[in-house]
C-alpha cells in the first residue's frame, strides 16, 4: 500500500519537474514586463498577449531597436533544415542500400562512418570558421547545410541501413527477375518501400538541424542567422526582455511539440532501428 502511494508520488513529482519549466515559460509569456520581475513571483494575474503580438508582427519589444526578427530567422532555420534533410537522405540512402545489400566495405567502412558520431563538433568550429571566411561561405545558408551534412549523413546511413536490413530483399529480387537492373530496383522498389524509414530519419535530422546552435551562432552574422542563433543573441543582449523571449520560445516549442507527438511513433522507431545497426 505504502509502496503504491510512494510510486504515485514519485511519478507526480517527476511529471511536475518535467513540465513545470515549460509551464513557467508560458506563464511568463503572458505577463506584462512589470509582472515578470515581480517578487514574489506571481501566479495569478491579468494575462496579456501583447508579447506574442509584438513578436509575431513587430519583431520584438516595442522599445527595442533591435528586432527579434522572428520571421527571417525562422525562414533561415527552415531552409537550412530542409536542405540538410533532403541532401542527407539523398546522399545517405544509396550508401545505406549499398551497405545493406552488398555489405560494401564491410565492417571497416561502417565503423569509419560510425566514428564520425564520436567527433565533437567543436573540433570543426575553428577550421570551418577560417575556411568559410576564406571562401565566402560565411553567413550563407549553404554553408550551414554543408557543415550539418557532415554530421547528419552518418546518422542517415546508419538508421536507413537498419531499416533496409529489416526489409526483405525478395521484392527487389522479384523485380530483377522481371527485368529491372540493380539501380532500377533501388529506385522503384527499395526506395518507395523504405517510406517509413525515410520519414523517421528525415524527422530526426530536421529536428537536429533546426535546433542546432553552435555552428549557426558562429558561422552566421546577418543574412543566414537561424532561429537558435538569433535567440542566443537576444538572450545575451536583452536579458531583461523575458516576456518577449518567453513568447518566442513558446511559439517555437509548441509546433515542435505537436509535430513530435503526432510523429512520435516514427521517431521512436527510427531511433530504435538506428541503435540496432
Amino acid at each position: 500500500m505504502i509502496e503504491r502511494i510512494s510510486k504515485w508520488i514519485v511519478v507526480l513529482v517527476l511529471s511536475l519537474v518535467s513540465v513545470f519549466p515549460i509551464f513557467w515559460i508560458f506563464l511568463t509569456s503572458i505577463k506584462t514586463d512589470a509582472e515578470v520581475v515581480n517578487i514574489p513571483p506571481s501566479w495569478f494575474f491579468q494575462p496579456t498577449f501583447d508579447h506574442y503580438y509584438s513578436i509575431i508582427f513587430h519583431g520584438g519589444g516595442a522599445e527595442v531597436a533591435y528586432a527579434f526578427e522572428l520571421w527571417s530567422s525562422f525562414l533561415n532555420s527552415i531552409v537550412v533544415s530542409l536542405g540538410t534533410t533532403a541532401l542527407a537522405v539523398a546522399i545517405g540512402f544509396p550508401a545505406a542500400y549499398s551497405i545493406s545489400r552488398f555489405n560494401t566495405g564491410g565492417r571497416p567502412l561502417l565503423s569509419w562512418i560510425l566514428s564520425f558520431r564520436m567527433l565533437p563538433p567543436i573540433v570543426f568550429l575553428i577550421p570551418m570558421f577560417i575556411l568559410y571566411q576564406l571562401y565566402g561561405l560565411m553567413d550563407t545558408q549553404i554553408g550551414l547545410v554543408l557543415i550539418y551534412l557532415t554530421f547528419n549523413v552518418p546518422l542517415a546511413v546508419f538508421i536507413l541501413k537498419g531499416f533496409l536490413d529489416d526489409m526483405p530483399r525478395d521484392y527487389e529480387e522479384a523485380g530483377m527477375v522481371d527485368g529491372c537492373s540493380r539501380i532500377q530496383s533501388l529506385w522503384k522498389i527499395a526506395l518507395p518501400m523504405s517510406g517509413p524509414g525515410i520519414v523517421a530519419v528525415s524527422i530526426i535530422i530536421f529536428l537536429f538541424s533546426f535546433n542546432e546552435f553552435m555552428f549557426a551562432y558562429v558561422l552566421t552574422t546577418r543574412n543566414a542567422v537561424t532561429l537558435t542563433a538569433k535567440a542566443a543573441v537576444f538572450i545575451t543582449e536583452y536579458t531583461f526582455l523575458w516576456a518577449d523571449l518567453a513568447a518566442a520560445m513558446i511559439l517555437m516549442i509548441v509546433p515542435m511539440m505537436v509535430a513530435t507527438i503526432l510523429l512520435q511513433g516514427q521517431i521512436i522507431k527510427g531511433l530504435r532501428t538506428g541503435l540496432k545497426a
Binding site: V19, G105, M118, V123, L149, F213, T228
Partner: protein, 299 residues
C-alpha cells in the same frame, strides 16, 4: 528458357561498380569535410594563430601544448570539470531514465499520459533550455531561488562554482533524461513476461526481481544508452554556453567544459593556436575512449 536477370547481371564487375558508386557521395562528403578541419587543427596547434593572421600564422612550436599542459588552471582544470560534468550528467540520466521506465512499466493506468509528460523536455531546443534555466534560477526574479528563500532552504547562488556546475548538469539532465527513458522503456517492453512470472512464483519481491532479474537482462541496452550519452555529453556546448558561458571565473570558470574552453580560447582570447591544441588533445582522448570501447565490444 530465358533468364533475363542472369543475362543482365552478367558481370560481377558491374555490380561492384554500382555498389561503390552508391557509397561514393557519402565517402566524399565525409572525407572532404573532415580531413581539412582535422589537418588544419593539427597544423594550427603548432602556431600562434589569431583572427588576424590565420592564413599565415607565426609558428610557435610546442608552446601551446606546454602552456596548456603545465598550467594546472587551464587544460587540467577544464578536464576535471568535463569529467565531473559528463560523469554526473550521464549517471543521473541513466538512473532517472531507468526510474521513469520502471515506473511507467508498472503503472496500471495513465501510462500514455505520464509518458507524454515525461517527454516534454525533449521538445525544447537546447538554446531555450539554457534560457529557461537563466529565468528560473535567476537570483532576483527566479521562481526557484524565491521559494528556497521562503522555505529557509539553502540558497542557490550562481556565482558559487559548485552550484553553477550542478545547475548546468541539472538542465542537461532535465533535457535528455526522456531520451534514456524512451530507450530503456523499449528495452523493458521487449523483455519476455514469463521471466517475471517465474520470479513471482519463486517468491521474489519487487526490488529483488528488479536487481537480479530485470537489470541483468537489460545490460546491453543500458550499455548502449551509456555509450551514446557519454559521447553526446562530451560534445555538449549549447546548454552550458547559454546558461553561464563557462561559469563563474575566468579563463576557466566553474562550468568551462572542454568545448567551452576551446570556444573561449578562440573567440574571447583570440588564440586560435591554443584552441587548436586543446582540440588535438581532446581528439586523442576521444580516440582512446573509442579504442577502449571497440576492445570491449569485440570481446
Amino acid at each position: 528458357m530465358r533468364f533475363p536477370s542472369l543475362a543482365r547481371r552478367g558481370s560481377a564487375r558491374e555490380e561492384a561498380r554500382i555498389k561503390y558508386a552508391l557509397v561514393l557521395p557519402t565517402i566524399v562528403t565525409l572525407l572532404v569535410f573532415t580531413t581539412y578541419p582535422l589537418l588544419s587543427q593539427f597544423y594550427l596547434s603548432f602556431t600562434s594563430a589569431s583572427i588576424y593572421d590565420y592564413n599565415s600564422p607565426p609558428p610557435a612550436g610546442v608552446s601551446n601544448y606546454s602552456y596548456l599542459l603545465y598550467d594546472p588552471g587551464l587544460f587540467w582544470q577544464s578536464g576535471i570539470i568535463t569529467t565531473i560534468y559528463v560523469g554526473l550528467a550521464v549517471l543521473l540520466q541513466l538512473l532517472l531514465g531507468m526510474l521513469m521506465a520502471v515506473l511507467i512499466y508498472s503503472l496500471k493506468r495513465g501510462q500514455k499520459v505520464f509518458t507524454s509528460l515525461f517527454i516534454f523536455p525533449m521538445f525544447v531546443a537546447p538554446v531555450f533550455v539554457g534560457a529557461l534555466g537563466r529565468l528560473i534560477f535567476n537570483s532576483m526574479i527566479g521562481v526557484v531561488p524565491y521559494y528556497l528563500r521562503t522555505f529557509g532552504l539553502p540558497m542557490i547562488s550562481l556565482s558559487n562554482p559548485i552550484h553553477a556546475l550542478l545547475l548546468v548538469i541539472s538542465m542537461e539532465v532535465w533535457k535528455w533524461t526522456p531520451f534514456a527513458f524512451i530507450i530503456l522503456y523499449g528495452g523493458l517492453e521487449s523483455l519476455p513476461a514469463e521471466v517475471f512470472d517465474a520470479a513471482k512464483v519463486d517468491g521474489a519481491s519487487g526490488p529483488r526481481t528488479f536487481l537480479h532479474v530485470t537489470l541483468p537482462m537489460l545490460k546491453s541496452i543500458v550499455a548502449v544508452v551509456l555509450i551514446i550519452r557519454i559521447m553526446d555529453e562530451l560534445k555538449a556546448f549549447d546548454i552550458p554556453f547559454i546558461l553561464l558561458e563557462g561559469g563563474p571565473g575566468a579563463p576557466v570558470g566553474a562550468t568551462t567544459i572542454f568545448s567551452l574552453l576551446i570556444y573561449k580560447l578562440a573567440f574571447s582570447y583570440n588564440n586560435f593556436g591554443a584552441a587548436a591544441a586543446v582540440n588535438v588533445l581532446l581528439l586523442f582522448i576521444l580516440l582512446g575512449l573509442f579504442w577502449i570501447m571497440i576492445q570491449r565490444l569485440l570481446k
